[in-house]
């Protein structure tokens, strides 16, 4: 019985944790969105994402880039050539971003409908 109660407890705790995660993401399970960097362009240049979602930046260029919020609230750091970096969309923070190395490269995280 003790073992059965333990399993039930663990399952309940896991359910609670999952629910808390969903709450943190505004009632939605966090998602991953891939943004390709190719030829000095973020594609898509506008990505719908919620706080708690993960943005995956894949750099296909031969040079390093970054994805850095215009207000500095989030930053992938340097994404070396042919590498990937991720960042979690914060609850509060800028939605416009750019490459800190090549400021002519810009993108935006939009709010989903």
């Amino acid at each position: 019985m003790a073992t059965r109660r333990g399993i039930r407890g663990a399952l309940a705790a896991a359910a609670l944790a999952a629910a808390a995660g969903a709450c943190a993401a505004g009632g939605h399970a966090p998602e991953r969105h891939q943004i390709e960097i190719r030829a000095f362009v973020f594609a898509p240049d506008a990505q719908a994402a919620r706080p708690g979602d993960t943005l995956v930046f894949v750099n296909h260029d031969a040079v390093p880039h970054t994805a850095t919020a215009a207000d500095g609230s989030w930053d992938t750091g340097t994404i070396p050539a042919d590498s990937t970096k991720t960042v979690v969309v914060p609850a509060r923070g800028g939605r416009d971003y750019r490459c800190a190395i090549h400021p002519t490269m810009t993108g935006r995280v939009t709010r989903p409908d």
Partner: protein, 208 residues
Amino acid sequence: MNRITRTLALTLLAPALVLVACKKDSDNYTETADTTAVAATPTTDTTAVPAPPPAAATVSDAQIAAIVLAANTVDSTAGEMAKQKGTNPAVKQFGQTMVTDHGGVNKQAVALAGRLNLTPEENPTSTQLTQGGQQSGTQLSGLTGAAFDRAYIDHEVEYHQTVLDAIDQTLIPNAQNAELKALLQQTRPAVAAHLEMAKNLQKTLQGS
């Protein structure tokens, strides 16, 4: 246009003229409709350079490889100087970016040349790019402070515009190997971005 800028423009323009001359003398000369290769260079002092004949240059893949390597090396070297001598932090950062980016492109170009068993062949354009880089380096090394910053960024605007024109009008049209052509097409956005960054910095420095 100041003396250094004019010299740089002429130095960088010269390869295009040489290419055109080489083209005229080559056995496999073919007429093309593109007559803007040199005329389109906006900052060229046309009073000092004769108008080119109406022909586009022809270069081989091996020559293109040498031109790509020379162009990247020249600007990487200039970037190193900007890192050392620049006073404006944005100028120093720009120099670092040129070192990193052109180094990255050269690494890619060397790897491709190796894969294609393509030995870069020095040619008038690659040679003059290298010599022009040495000349501009000498001129820039005589400057300090804000004067250096302005001259370096002026140089970068001129240089990237000329390289961009060369990519569009000479290198991509002449590249025969698909992978080499793809490398040039991938490099073009980098050069265009550098040009925009240099122009923005140029405006900032003019306003300071």
